[in-house]
Symmetry: C2
Subunit: 495 residues, 2 copies
C-alpha cells in the first residue's frame, strides 16, 4: 500500500509542472514544449518539428481567425504551388540576394534524374504570385486586387534553430495585394497593422509595437517594412507579423501593369503581409504561461472546458450528468472533453492546469445533489460555485473575462519596460536589466547603418526602427556618433 | 445605340456558358475551369496549378467537414515536415519500390551546396509518421492511437497530367492509426469507409462504390487496399479516398511496438486513409455540373446566396434592403454576397448560374413594396416568391433540399450503369457504351494478374476489384481465361 502510494506520488510529481518562468525562462520554454506535448523535436531533419495536437489545435484557431478577418476585408484565398522556378527569383535583384542563401532546391526526381531547371521550395511567394498578377490584372477596375494564401514556407536557416521561434518550415498566411497608387497601397499597410492589432493583441492578448524598420533591415525587395515586435520575459524582442510596402519594385520586373482611367498603362503598387503562426503561438504561450504551465486566451485554447467527474463509477449519475453538460457545451460549439481516466482528481487537476485549459468543471455526488458545479478558472486559479442551470451563460461570460484578464496582465508588464538612454553606456546598462532602450539616432537611412552596426557589435542588440503609432522627437544627439539626431529608435536584443 | 446593344450581346454571350456536358465532356471540363476561374494552368511548372478562390473556398469547406468528422471519431491533428529523409523510404521494400520513381528530391541549399543526405518531398507520409509512432507508443493503453494531418503531397507523375484529376501537388488529409490487433485495424478500415460515405455521398452528393483492390493493384506496402470509385460522365471511373490495411508491414521495419496486457512486446497493426480534395472537388463539379455550368451542394458551395438588386441606384431603398438581408444571412454564418456591379441583371443571372451559386435572391422596387423576394434555385432553375419575413427559414429549408436533390439526381444516374458480361467481347461492347462491366474472374490474387493484364491490353480498361458492400457469387467462368471463377469483379476505364 505504502509502495503504491509512493508510486502515485512519483507519478503526480512527474505531471506537476513547476518552473520559475521569469528567472529560468529558457528552461521553462524547453520543458513546457515536452511536458505539454506541443512539438516533438526528434524528427530526423534538423530544424523541422513534428507539431503535436495541442499546438496544432491552437494554431488552427489562430489561422481561422486570420482568414476570417482577411476575407471580411476583401482578400480572396488562393493556393499556389510549393515550388518556384529558379528564374522567377532572379527577376528582382534585392529579393534574390536576400533569399537565395536560404533556399532549399529541388533538383532531381525519381531515381535521380536531374530536372532541367532547379525549383526552389518557396521561402515566400512574391515571385510566384506576381507573375500571375501580370496575367490577371488588366485595368484599374481590377484594383484593388487583394489575395492571400495559407501555406508552409521553407528557409534554410544558417543560425541556430529554436522550436517555434526559428525553424526551417514555417506555417503562415501571406497576403499579396495590388493597387493603382502608392497612397492606396499605404492604406493597405495600415489595414494590415490594424488586422494584426485586432488579432495579436485584442484576441490573443499579445502586446507588441509596430516599428518601421530602418532601411538596412527591410524585407528583401521592399521600399519599407513595418513589423510587430513583441517582448519576451528574457528581455528580447520577437518579430511577429510584418507588412511591406513594395512600391513598384516587383511590378516592374514581373510586368504587373494596368490601364488607368486615362487609358494609360501604369505599373501597379504592391504590398505583402505575413503572419507566421509558429511564432505567434510561441509568443502566446510565452506571454501567458506561468510557473505552473500554459494559460490560453479562451477563444484559441485547444480545449476550452474540461469536465472532471469526482467519485464516480461507470454508468453512475455523476458520469451521466458530465456527459449531459458536455453535450450542451458541444451544441454551442465549445471545445470540451470529459477526463474519465483512472487518475486521481488531484493528478487530473495538475495535468489540465499545466495544459492551460481555461475552465475546469468539477462534479461529484455533492454537486449533483445541490444542482451546482465547481468551476475553476486557470488564469486566476480560483474556484467558484455555479448553479447548473446558469452554466452556459457563466461559460460565455467567463470566457470573455479570461481573455481580457490575460491581455490586461500582459499589457501591464509591457509598460515601464521602455526607458531612455542618451549614451551607449546607458543603453548597455538598461539592456542588462531586460529593458527596451529608447534613444535618439542620427537617421534610419542607409547612411546610418554604421551606427547600427556599432550597437550590434558592442551590445549584441539591434535597432528595431521607429514607432508607427507615435511621431517622436529626438531628445539628444545620436547615442552612437554624437551627431544631430533625426529619429527616435528602439534598441533591444532579438530572437 | 444598335452598336452598343450588339456589344452588350457579345458580352452576354461571352458570360453565357453552354456546353453539352454528356456529349462533349472533355471540352465542358476544360472550359468550366477557365470560365468559372477554378484554377489557372499557366503556372510555369508542369503539372502544378494555381487554385483560384472559387475552388479554394469549396475545398476548404470539404476539408473542414472531413477534419470535424475525424476529430469526432477520435483522431488528433498533427503537422509533419514536408521533407522525409531518403533513408526512411528504404525501410519498407514495397513502399520504396512503389513511390521512389515519383519522388521530387531536395538535394541542395542556398548557393548550391549539396546536402549530406537527400530529402524527399513527401509523396505520402507513412515513413514520417511511423518513426514517430515508435517513440510515442509504449503500451496497449496507448492504443488505439489515431492521428491525421492536413497536408500537401508531391508526386512526379510520369503520365499526362490533368487539372485536379492527375496533378503533381495534391491537397489531402492523411489519417494514420495504430491498433493492437488486426481485427481492431479492420474496424478502422470500415470506419474510414463510413466517413467517406457520410461526406462524399451524403454531404457532397457523389455516388461511389468501395472496392477491395486486387492484390496486383494495392497501395505500395499494404496488405489490402479499399478504394472509393466514382463514375464520370464519359464512363470512366475516378478513384477517390482509399483506406489501407497495412498489417505489420510498416510496424516491423519502423519498430512500432507495444507491451500487451500480458507484458509481451507486440508489433502494432497500422492503417492509413487518404481523402484528396483536388479529386473530390473535381468529382463534385463533374457530378453536379450541367450544360449551363456549375452546381454545388449547399453546404460546400463557395458562395451560398447571391443577392441581385434590380433597378436600384446608390443609397436607394432597394440597396439598403439588400444590405439588410445580407447582414441577417451573415449572422447565421451563410456565405452571402450582393452583386452591386454595373452589369445588367440578365448578365448577372447568367454569371452566377454558371458559377453554381445554389440560391439567388432578386429584389427590386416591386418586391420591396410587396415585402417579398424572388428566389431562384440553381438546381431546379425555378423562381419562387418568398415573403421577406420568412426568408431565413426558407434558405435553411431549401439549402437542405438542394443538396438532397443533387444527390438523388446523381444516384439515379449511377443506377443501371452496371451490366454483366460473360466474355471479353461482351465487356468490350458494354465499355464502348460507357457502362461499368460486372464479370466473373478467376481470382484477385497475384496468380490472376495475367488475366487483368489481358483486359488492360485488349480493352484499355482496369479491374477495379470486388465490392465491399456485397458478397457476390460468380455467374460464369473467368471471362478471360475461362477457368473456374472465385470472384465477381468490376471492370471500367479509369482516370
Amino acid at each position: 500500500m505504502a509502495e503504491k502510494q509512493e508510486k502515485n506520488q512519483a507519478l503526480e510529481e512527474k505531471t506537476t509542472f513547476n518552473i520559475d518562468k521569469e528567472k529560468d525562462f529558457s528552461n521553462w520554454f524547453s520543458e513546457i514544449l515536452k511536458t505539454a506535448e506541443l512539438a516533438d523535436l526528434r524528427y530526423n531533419i534538423k530544424g523541422f518539428l513534428v507539431y503535436q495536437p495541442w499546438s496544432v489545435l491552437c494554431m488552427e484557431e489562430m489561422a481561422r481567425l486570420f482568414e476570417k478577418a482577411l476575407q471580411r476585408k476583401g482578400h480572396k484565398p488562393y493556393w499556389f504551388p510549393v515550388m518556384i522556378p529558379e528564374k522567377n527569383f532572379h527577376l528582382e535583384k534585392e529579393h534574390v540576394e536576400g533569399f537565395a542563401p536560404e533556399v532549399f532546391w529541388v533538383t532531381e526526381t525519381g531515381d535521380g534524374s536531374k530536372l532541367e531547371e532547379k525549383f526552389a521550395l518557396r521561402p515566400t511567394s512574391e515571385t510566384a504570385f506576381y507573375q500571375m498578377f501580370s496575367l490577371w490584372i488588366r485595368s484599374y477596375k481590377d484594383l484593388p486586387f487583394k489575395t492571400y494564401q495559407r501555406a508552409n514556407v521553407f528557409r534554410y536557416e544558417t543560425r541556430a534553430t529554436r522550436p517555434f521561434l526559428r525553424i526551417r518550415e514555417i506555417h503562415w498566411i501571406e497576403g499579396h495585394c495590388a493597387f493603382k497608387s502608392l497612397e492606396d497601397s499605404m492604406k493597405q499597410v495600415h489595414e494590415d497593422m490594424e488586422t494584426t492589432q485586432e488579432l495579436l493583441h485584442d484576441a490573443f492578448g499579445i502586446p507588441h509595437i509596430f516599428f518601421q524598420r530602418p532601411q538596412w533591415d527591410k524585407f528583401a525587395g521592399a521600399v519599407n517594412t513595418y513589423a510587430a515586435d513583441a517582448l519576451m520575459p528574457d528581455g528580447r524582442m520577437l518579430q511577429l507579423p510584418s507588412t511591406h510596402c513594395l512600391g513598384q519594385n516587383f511590378s516592374k520586373p514581373f510586368n504587373v501593369k494596368f490601364v488607368d482611367e486615362n487609358s494609360q498603362e501604369q505599373f501597379a503598387y504592391l504590398t505583402c503581409y505575413g503572419p507566421a503562426f509558429d511564432r505567434i503561438f510561441a509568443a502566446c504561450i510565452i506571454t501567458h504561461g506561468d510557473n505552473k504551465g500554459l494559460r490560453f486566451p479562451f477563444e484559441i485554447s485547444p480545449l476550452q472546458v474540461v469536465i472532471v467527474p469526482i467519485n464516480f463509477e461507470k454508468e453512475s449519475k455523476v458520469l451521466k450528468k458530465a456527459l449531459e453538460l458536455k453535450e450542451r457545451l458541444l451544441e454551442l460549439n465549445y471545445r470540451v472533453e470529459i477526463d474519465g481516466s483512472e487518475k486521481r482528481p488531484g493528478e487530473k487537476f495538475y495535468f489540465w492546469e499545466m495544459k492551460g485549459v481555461p475552465l475546469r468543471i468539477e462534479i461529484g455526488p455533492k454537486e449533483l445533489k445541490a444542482k451546482e458545479l465547481l468551476v475553476f478558472r486557470r488564469d486566476l486559479e480560483k474556484k467558484e460555485k455555479v448553479k447548473e442551470k446558469s452554466l452556459l451563460e457563466f461559460v460565455e461570460k467567463k470566457g470573455k473575462e479570461i481573455t481580457k484578464n490575460l491581455r490586461e496582465t500582459a499589457d501591464k508588464k509591457f509598460k515601464d519596460i521602455i526607458l531612455d538612454a542618451k549614451t551607449v553606456e546607458e543603453a548597455k546598462k538598461l539592456l542588462g536589466e531586460k529593458k527596451i532602450v529608447r534613444a535618439s539616432f542620427c537617421s534610419t537611412g542607409l547612411e546610418s547603418a554604421k551606427c547600427a552596426e556599432a550597437i550590434e557589435k558592442d551590445l549584441g542588440a539591434k535597432v528595431r526602427g521607429t514607432r508607427v503609432d507615435l511621431k517622436e522627437k529626438p531628445f539628444s544627439n545620436c547615442l552612437v556618433c554624437g551627431k544631430a539626431a533625426k529619429e527616435v529608435v528602439y534598441i533591444a536584443f532579438e530572437y
